[in-house]
Symmetry: C2
Subunit: 210 residues, 2 copies
């Protein structure tokens, strides 16, 4: 079903070359997506409904977001940017870098708890995405990394070891979220696991090498 070869479909021009009306359309679509996801989760985001709710033809919706997965990953990107901005305003209060990261992630987690359906839709899309969505997923990943690095409060550049630890934390974050969303882990367990993985930060910090 996926045509990886030459694009038979006209894609949207580069992101910065959008008309005002086009920007508004894109925004309406993302808003509709988040709204539908907010109640009902992944299944409730139906492309026909998104199109109708955002006053856009189905074909246009697919021109802006070439698949439901693309749409939901873009929605996640959007939400993450909000969250990053929010988190920047109130930086973590802990002193240890690891504790700061854990605190930040638990804040993000509480935000997810407020909108579990939305979280479900976004995270499921993110982990279900195949190669055709890699660039977009990568953007989300970079955003998450930025949030974690921010929380660490790094003065200098991170070491490769630390970057690996951050990736592992990210893995744990996504996977623990899924486990919680599908009801196989409690909030307490997620908290413990986040705190456990954040110990890797102390372990890999250059100040305490071994």
């Amino acid at each position: 079903m996926g045509h990886m070869t030459s694009e038979h479909r006209p894609a949207l021009p580069a992101s910065h070359a959008l008309t005002e009306r086009q920007e508004a359309r894109r925004r309406r679509i993302l808003h509709a997506s988040a709204q539908l996801a907010g109640r009902g989760g992944f299944d409730a985001v139906q492309m026909r409904e998104v199109a109708e709710l955002s006053n856009v033809a189905l074909g246009t919706l697919y021109r802006y977001f070439p698949s439901k997965i693309h749409l939901l990953v873009a929605t996640m990107q959007d939400q993450l940017q909000h969250m990053h901005a929010t988190l920047r305003k109130r930086p973590p209060t802990e002193s240890d870098p690891g504790a700061r990261v854990a605190q930040t992630l638990m804040r993000a987690f509480r935000a997810m708890q407020r909108e579990p359906h939305l979280a479900d839709a976004m995270v499921r899309a993110l982990t279900f995405a195949d190669r055709s969505v890699s660039p977009e997923v990568d953007t989300v990943s970079r955003l998450t990394t930025a949030i974690i690095l921010d929380a660490m409060g790094l003065d200098s550049a991170a070491t490769p070891e630390q970057l690996s630890a951050v990736r592992v934390i990210e893995h744990t974050w996504h996977s623990a979220l899924i486990t919680w969303l599908s009801g196989r882990a409690s909030i307490a367990q997620v908290k413990i696991d986040i705190e456990t993985v954040c110990r890797l930060i102390e372990l890999t910090s250059p100040q305490r090498p071994e």
Copy 2:
């Protein structure tokens, strides 16, 4: 679309009460599933094709496995059991528990590399599964946990801390696998991340408390 309430559909009797013919059918289905997944991945496992290839009517297929996700998770369970048996035969050679786990997971990873499409289908199904598949996903999770605990070579029962570390390793394992399968991480990076997360084992072992 999921009807969570009372089952309107007659389910298969408890697993141990299967006729010989039924057991054979189940096996044919799982074999067909793995075969189709082996070339083509998640998308290539089409329920009609699975039914045809295993000489079973579509309705029967759905009686044995109530959804494509259930089918693929069951396929993973099947494959994991094989892998567990294989790994038991050649236990890891390293001495440190952490290194043993890392070694075991990299072995498993190499097995995945041999059948990337199959791995793709199984792992995507696993992380996409919703609440209705929780029991089956939980079984897979327990199998994975067993493999990791085996590799650790625990003499006594694991501490809660260690169990959390094992969960985090499992999270990292799944998520890193996905990242590799969708082409966003190299094999080398997966290896590094696995080794990084396995350090948590030493960190939480009772022998070296702080």
